[in-house]
Structure formats: structure tokens, C-alpha cells
């Protein structure tokens, strides 16, 4: 693979939400040899193949699961109160985990309510169970396969003795962010014991921990990320990726944000001001903040702006306070790969926004799945 080339042209900027601004200057970067890339990939592949999902478990961890017959409404309250974005679903009638409930499910439910002006009456919303929702989703659109698995399908999970490589591939291939690690003490897979929720961040953490003190064995770690074909960048003249870079203004409606999340199949959208400088992020997992004070029953998706939606979860914190907190992690295009990987290895940080130093203009996004797609390809 060849590092991306940058055009030095500077045409005028458009004012559309999807930005087409090319880079303004040529970036000089040491060229990475194909041999270096292959060597690094092989070393990481060997590491991941020889370590198991058991290593992802903390010494004393906590996992929260939900009964599949819980009303959806209460399930989201629980996700919000416990601060978790996803929970495995347990079916008492057959003694098995049958799927997961995630922020994507909530996004889809809200969109469905918004679209049809609530097919469900208020009372039905109170009692609509997770299992009914999952079945309905099956009939509605079998194509969508975000974070939630459909009940008749097998639960996507891993065992504690599966290799990290298999777990990473499973996450990437199914385009999910988390999967349950379940141990079954009997041959037929019954008596499931829930151990952990595995994510790419956790696997990345294992990689960083292992290679931290021998970074010379992975030459690509020292490379600036702009020289590595990884992540999504604001389109430049000369690149024909064709994929629009999703960004929104703070006054964009929540329904536009949710539609964009679903259609672009991304888990977060940078919120930018008129200069395309980053002001905040709207993440799919922020949707559970709507469970607070039953906000989702009272709002209309097209009347609430994403700025307001973000404020809901902030408890009145200043809109610019997020820079200090975990909400929106940024990096520069000159940052070396190892630094970016260390930051992505923190659980809960799934992506970094690449910004221009000083102006904070958005240049791209690099997510933990981008890193793995590059490392495992």
C-alpha cells in the first residue's frame, strides 16, 4: 500500500455539511517500506494468535446482563444508569444468552417512533419487551446488523480460550463493537457463564502492553498516522474514496444525526462550527442520555438539536468543557501510530478526531476498528 498523497491546491470551501476541503499543504513524511508494514503485521498477528480472550478479563470485572423480557424502556434506563453502552440478553426459558441490546437498538427504535409518529401507544411503549423489539426488527429490516444480533440467529460470542485474533476478526467481520465472552462448562454449550464483554479497545490494550517496551520490533509504530493508509480523512483532491466525511453543525436536528449514524454506519459524528473546527462529538452511545427523565417520550427528534441532546447528558456542564474530559479525544496527523494506539486502548475511547493544531479544524477520524482493519488485513 502506498501512503496517501496530498494535493497543495487550495480551492474555496463549501458550506455544506459534508465537507470537501482538501489539505492545504504538502506533508513531508518518511516513506514506509512495504517490508516494514508486513513485518509489523506479522508480529502482531503472531501475538494475537498466541494469546486468548482470557487475557482480556480484568482480575475482578463486572458485567451487566438483561432479561430479554424486560420492557425496552426500562432496559434503556438501566443502560443509562449503569453507564454501559451494551448489555447481553438472557433468556430464562431456555437458559441461554440470546443476543445483546445496544445503543444502535435505541437509535433504531427512536427513528421508528419518529417516522411513524409512534406505531406504539404510550402504554405499548411501557410494556414493549426487548424480545418483541428484536422480533419486529427481524421483520422490519433484516439487512441492518449493527450492534444487535437478531434472535433466531446465533449469538455472536467468543469463548475464553479463543485466540485474540479470532475475537478481533469476529468483531470486525460482524461490524460490532462488543461481544460477550461466555464460558460453557458442558459439551453442548449449556450452562453459560458470562465472563466479559470483549471489545477491540481491550485487544488493543493487550497489544500495547506487550509491545510497549520493544517498539523497535514494530517499525510502523513510529510512523505519523498521516503516512499510514488508515482511518477516514476529509476528502482531498486526487483521492477517489468517494465516501463523504460525516460532520454536522451544532444546530442540526437529532433526527438528522440519527439517520446519519445509521446510514453511514458510523458510531460517531464530529460536530463542527462554521469554520469546520471541532466543537463536540455526537456518539451513538450518547443516545442513552435520552433515557434521562424520560426525555425520549417528550422530544420530537426533528425539533431537538444535537447540541441540546449532548447537553442532556452533560448535566449542565459548559459546552466547551468536553475538551478536558473524555468526550472528544483529538490527535494530530503528525502523531506517531504508537501514541494513537495507546490512546485508543483506553476503554470507552473508540475514536480520535484528527485535527489541525491550533484551529482544531477537522481533518479526519481514526477509530479502533480502522487500526485493526489495517493491522489484520
Amino acid at each position: 500500500m502506498i501512503p496517501a498523497f496530498f494535493s497543495p491546491e487550495t480551492p474555496g470551501r463549501s458550506n455544506m455539511d459534508v465537507d470537501n476541503d482538501p489539505f492545504h499543504r504538502l506533508v513531508a513524511s518518511p516513506r514506509m517500506s512495504q517490508a516494514d508494514i508486513e513485518l509489523s503485521r506479522n508480529r502482531i498477528s503472531v501475538f494475537l494468535s498466541t494469546h486468548t480472550a482470557y487475557e482480556l478479563l480484568p482480575d475482578s470485572g463486572k458485567v451487566i446482563a438483561l432479561d430479554v423480557n424486560l420492557p425496552v424502556k426500562q432496559a434503556f434506563h438501566i443502560l443509562y444508569e449503569q453507564g454501559i453502552p451494551v448489555a447481553p440478553l438472557w433468556d430464562f426459558s431456555n437458559g441461554q444468552f440470546v443476543g445483546v441490546l445496544s445503543a444502535l437498538d435505541f437509535v433504531l427504535i427512536l427513528r421508528e417512533l419518529g417516522n411513524h409518529g409512534s406505531n406504539l401507544t404510550e402504554e405499548e411503549l411501557e410494556t414493549h419487551t426487548i424480545s418483541a423489539w428484536k422480533e419486529g426488527k427481524l421483520h422490519l429490516n433484516g439487512q441492518i446488523d449493527g450492534n444487535g444480533q437478531l434472535i433466531p440467529r446465533r449469538l455472536i460470542h467468543a469463548g475464553p480460550y479463543d485466540s485474540l485474533r479470532d475475537v478481533a476478526l469476529k468483531l470486525l467481520q460482524n461490524k460490532i463493537s462488543t461481544l460477550p465472552v461466555v464460558h460453557s462448562s458442558s459439551q453442548d454449550g449449556s450452562f453459560q457463564q458470562l465472563l466479559h464483554l470483549a471489545s477491540l479497545s481491550g485487544i488493543l490494550k493487550c497489544i500495547c502492553r506487550n509491545f510497549r517496551h520493544s517498539s523497535s520490533s514494530l517499525p510502523i509504530l513510529q510512523q505519523p498516522i498521516c503516512s499510514i493508509p488508515m482511518g477516514t480523512w476529509v476528502p482531498k483532491i486526487g483521492e477517489s474514496s468517494g465516501q463523504p466525511f460525516a460532520m454536522l453543525r451544532p444546530n442540526a436536528s437529532l433526527s438528522a444525526a440519527l439517520s446519519l449514524l445509521v446510514q453511514a454506519e458510523v458510531s460517531s459524528i464530529p460536530i463542527v462550527d462554521d469554520n469546520d473546527s471541532l466543537v463536540d462529538m455526537y456518539c451513538r452511545s450518547d443516545i442513552t442520555a435520552l433515557a434521562k427523565d424520560r426525555a425520549y417520550a417528550q422530544i420530537r427528534l426533528d425539533e431537538m438539536s444535537i447540541h441540546q441532546a449532548v447537553q442532556l447528558g452533560q448535566d449542565g456542564a459548559s459546552p466547551y468543557g468536553f475538551f478536558n474530559g473524555q468526550r472528544c479525544q483529538m490527535c494530530l496527523r503528525s502523531d506517531p501510530l504508537h501514541k494513537v494506539m495507546e490512546r485508543l486502548a483506553v476503554p470507552g475511547v473508540r475514536r480520535l478526531v484528527i485535527v489541525e493544531a491550533g484551529s482544531k479544524r477537522v481533518e479526519g477520524i481514526i477509530s479502533v476498528s480502522d487500526v485493526f482493519k489495517f493491522l489484520l488485513s
Binding site: L57, P58, S60, I64, A65, L70, Q74, L194, Q326, G348
Partner: protein, 116 residues
């Protein structure tokens, strides 16, 4: 035990060591009365208070302190006053050398209503 099949089995027996039948009088014990049921159940051992389920997990990765061995494999139920529609169950168990605290939220069946 009434070993009615004993004679059908072809076991070698040693003279003088045959198993005697239980005397019929030993089957005449009285059923226990109700006085036992009036008493309070024994107190929960105090060390079970140290469940990890009451720990707020500050760490976003969901890590908890290491549990004491004595609280492992006990099932806890959330103690909340008043009628509720959801109850939380929790337990801490060990898998090899790692401990996992699992919480399960379950709907409560209302008595008299059809189940939701």
C-alpha cells in the same frame, strides 16, 4: 433402605457379614411439627455484606476490587423498598484466577396481572 432387589442380585456374600434388613420400627418417625417454622431463620453471616455489588465502579473498564473468597457463588438480590417492576440479581464467581461479578436485571411478575 429397603433393598428389595437385593435378593435378585448375584453378589457373593460372606457368611456372617450379610447386611441385615432395617427393623420396621425405624420407619415410624413422627413428621416434624410446626414449632420449627415459627422461629426466625438464622442470621446471614456478616462477611456476606462485603459483596462487590455495592461497589460503585468508577473505572470505565468496569474493574472492581478483588473479592474475598467467602462471598463467591452467593446469589444476591437488590434490596429496594416498595413495589418495583425490575429487580437486580447479582453474584460473584471465579473463572480460573479471575473474578467476575455478574448482574442480571429481571422483570418482576406482578401478582394478579398477566405477565408482561
Amino acid at each position: 433402605m429397603n433393598n428389595q432387589y437385593g435378593e435378585a442380585q448375584d453378589e457373593a456374600t460372606v457368611v456372617g457379614f450379610e447386611v441385615p434388613r432395617s427393623p420396621d420400627a425405624s420407619y415410624n418417625n413422627v413428621y416434624p411439627g410446626n414449632e420449627d417454622e415459627g422461629r426466625e431463620p438464622p442470621m446471614v453471616p456478616p462477611h456476606l455484606q462485603h459483596t462487590l455489588l455495592n461497589c460503585p465502579s468508577r473505572d470505565p473498564s468496569g474493574s472492581l476490587p478483588l473479592p474475598q473468597n467467602v462471598i463467591l457463588n452467593h446469589l444476591y438480590i437488590e434490596n429496594r423498598e416498595g413495589p418495583r417492576s425490575v429487580v437486580a440479581l447479582g453474584t460473584t464467581h471465579r473463572f480460573r484466577s479471575k473474578c467476575v461479578t455478574v448482574m442480571l436485571y429481571k422483570p418482576v411478575q406482578r401478582r394478579g396481572n398477566s405477565s408482561t
